[in-house]
Symmetry: C2
Subunit: 298 residues, 2 copies
């Protein structure tokens, strides 16, 4: 059993980004600039935004939080997006979700200039990635690919089973894993709530990517010895032994699965720490006017 240490890899990636930003500013160029658009108040968003800001600061990326009252109209918000699209000093824009109900989140996402869509949610980025063209890739699946790459985990010809078909994890990681690229070139099976034989599907996998949001779903009887198990689950479950009263639970029953695996990501400290890094990596690429390659990593 080998642990895929997302925390360590994220720290290294941050060092690389920081070094590149430092070179940039040493040349007298302005640093990359990421703008988060936040509408109203949402506890989850606040924690995410604070973490993002801390990370940006640490690597020298300029971070701006644009806050609007929950009463802002869709039209006004679209106007703000247009302004950011045209602002040559803004490289990346993220829209904090959820948005208030009177605002069409999809419309707002599509209003972004896709060249500044560092979350990779704009249809142009989703489509370009599917086609195999350079594109901004969503943070979680791109983070997984980065881990596979940095640990040099073989993927070509391997059978990857993805649990979940969400637009932000399941579908894009399936697309990335099947591309003729390194990492990639996997036979890919996507399972979901309508899959009747999910245990059998998993048992055949060389690589399992669990993104169901169902704590402890992947048990020992579902894992082939020698498999690589990537756990994307981050569900808060009650834990009276913690001061906070809760802990993050992954989709994998780590303790019973780990000894079967060649490689496994823990929760926390696996995929999670990589996601913020990808956002920064995408912002850096946007600053340089480069789109990250959809099939490899830049």
């Amino acid at each position: 059993m080998n642990i895929i240490d997302g925390k360590l890899m994220a720290a290294r990636l941050k060092e690389e980004i920081a070094a590149e930003v430092a070179e940039m500013t040493a040349r007298g160029e302005r640093p990359p600039h990421l703008v988060a658009v936040i509408v109203g108040n949402d506890g989850g968003s606040e924690a995410y935004v604070a973490n993002k800001e801390k990370n940006c600061l640490a690597v020298g990326i300029r971070s701006t939080n644009l806050r609007f009252d929950a009463s802002i109209s869709e039209e006004e918000l679209l106007g703000e997006i247009a302004r950011l699209n045209n602002d040559a000093e803004v490289d990346g824009i993220i829209i904090q979700l959820p948005l208030p109900r009177h605002i069409d989140a999809q419309k707002v996402t599509e209003a972004l200039d896709w060249r500044k869509d560092v979350d990779g949610f704009h249809p142009v980025n989703v489509g370009r990635m599917a086609i195999g063209l350079p594109a901004f890739r969503p943070a979680t699946p791109a983070g997984i690919m980065e881990l596979l790459k940095r640990y040099d985990i073989p993927t070509k010809g391997k059978h990857a089973v993805v649990l979940g078909r969400s637009n932000i994890v399941g579908k894009p990681i399936a697309t990335m894993l099947m591309q003729k690229a390194m990492p990639g070139d996997c036979t890919v099976t996507v399972c979901h709530s309508s899959t009747p034989d999910i245990k059998e599907q998993c048992r055949r996998a060389d690589i399992i990517v669990a993104a169901l949001g169902s704590p402890g779903f992947v048990t020992a009887d579902m894992v082939k010895p020698g498999a690589t198990v990537i756990d994307v689950g981050t569900t808060r479950v009650a834990d009276p032994t913690r001061k906070s009263g809760w802990r993050l639970a992954g989709d994998v029953a780590f303790d019973e699965v780990k000894d079967l695996c060649e490689w496994i990501t823990p929760v926390p400290g696996g995929v999670g720490p990589m996601t913020n890094c990808i956002l920064m990596l995408n912002t850096l690429a946007a600053r340089k006017g480069e789109l990250p390659s959809a099939t490899g990593n830049k």
Copy 2:
């Protein structure tokens, strides 16, 4: 064994389209208008374009072929695309591929207004379809979905194995089959040139979609009794018994596989006849200012 009769279904679909176009013109509205942009001369393109024109005529869709000399510059061609994008009397635009080498086909595709991209190749359409939003869907996979729907072939919870990961068939049909929709909601496995155990993968399939372009690839030992087999292959193979000297060969060894299947598409007369219909269906939707649903069929 039941034959999925694509020719019959295409004829019905054409009747439906013709009826809707006739109602449209009876109301005094102009019929849908499809423009094909053709650069230079290519034998395959000419046959395709002639067939498209004949089909459009038959259902009352106006068809224009815009021909340019192979020497046209990329800039000039992009100018023509911009003109078509802005022409309120043009509903659908298709770019005949291949384009001459000095023209960047991807750039030309992306220059199309995605709302007129009835081939469904623009990244916005690819991305919207992946996300599950209404979008123009590429003809071949959309034609397959239409056949599954019209024959009421169960898909929910079935295991579909897709052979091939091309941008025009393999990847989009995988996306369509995994969506939570009817037809759809399949567990989907995508196999390709790097899949080591493609025979075993196929043997587990309830639905096989073969899109490799490899004549007779799917043999009897790869098909589970009761499976549905969709053959997308259309390779020209030499056939001295034909006047033309060739015949179209599918990816499935039809004669040895057919009796194992619950449903099977022949080649020719299966998926092929549907593709032109989808193009007309998309053009009709464009005329109505409606995007076909990405998850169902309109």
